[in-house]
Amino acid sequence: MDPGRWSYVAVLGFVLIGCLWLEFALRTRVLVRTRRLLASMVIPLLVFYAWDAYAVASGHWTFDPGRILGVHLPGAVPIDEVLFFLVIPLASILTLEAVRSVRGWKAGDEP
């Protein structure tokens, strides 16, 4: 496969490099709370998948076929986009827990 087709996924790799170290350095304990993490991702994935399918159908945005993997899911949503809707919530949760680790501010879920 033309390496250019990994462009989109490479950007997601950049995001993961930027945030995964927080789990270890700041002890965010997000990855070890796996069931909560996966469950948190369900609603955003469904909502934004639907938004993406609508946007693609309406022509709001298009993807360069030479820069995505080329696998499409129902609604003509590229699989790269599905990975986006998993990576960004993960990065967001890691960031929130990293700030909590350092500053100790409350989030409302403390037992």
């Binding site: 462009s7 989109y8 950007v11 950049f14 995001v15 930027g18 270890f24 350095a25 700041l26 002890r27 965010t28 304990r29 997000v30 070890v32 709370r33 069931r35 909560r36 993490l37 469950a39 948190s40 991702m41 369900v42 609603i43 955003p44 909502v47 938004w51 609508y54 946007a55 309406s58 022509g59 709001h60 945005w61 298009t62 993807f63 360069d64 820069r67 995505i68 809707f85 960004i88 919530p89 990065a91 967001s92 949760i93 960031t95 929130l96 827990e97 990293a98 700030v99 909590r100 680790s101 350092v102 500053r103 100790g104 501010w105 409350k106 989030a107 409302g108 879920d109 403390e110 037992p111």
Partner: protein, 150 residues
């Protein structure tokens, strides 16, 4: 609907979810806004790569600015764009981030793996766990300096 309209609607619906459906009230918390400030900085870099390299292109019919050019990057700033990306992406990103964080906190409040809590950072000393052999007299196993120690 245009992307602009959907972006505004998406932000409103997710804020309603945060305040009154999940009742996580993250938009009232300093923790959320400091986290979002960090996230949006990296969003501008990431989105800049998606749009600046032409991985994703936008239609001028759906956004405030014009269509992404057929060749070369769009305006870095101006024409409804910020760091190559349409400003509407800030609404889209805010909705995605707030919905994700609200779901995470909501599940934690409901008791799904609410512990272990985050922290402390590895550079901060953790207090040693109490010794199982310590007496329950408040001295934590240490002999008070003014005791006779017979």
């Amino acid at each position: 609907m245009t992307y602009t309209q959907l972006g505004v609607l998406g932000v409103i619906l997710v804020v309603v979810f945060d305040l009154w459906a999940a009742r996580t009230r993250l938009v009232t918390r300093r923790l959320f806004w400091v986290s979002y400030a960090i996230i949006v900085f990296f969003q501008l870099i990431t989105n800049g790569m998606f749009t600046g390299f032409g991985i994703v292109r936008y239609s001028g019919d759906a956004i405030i600015g014009g269509s992404s050019p057929a060749a070369g990057p769009p305006a870095f700033i101006g024409d409804g764009r910020l760091a190559f990306a349409p400003v509407e992406d800030l609404l889209f990103g805010f909705a995605l981030v707030l919905l994700s964080l609200s779901c995470w906190i909501w599940l934690g409040r409901r008791g799904l793996q609410s512990t272990p809590l985050a922290g402390p950072p590895i550079w901060r000393r953790t207090p040693p766990p109490p010794s199982p052999f310590a007496p329950f007299d408040g001295t934590n196993g240490k002999i008070p300096p003014d005791s006779n120690n017979i």
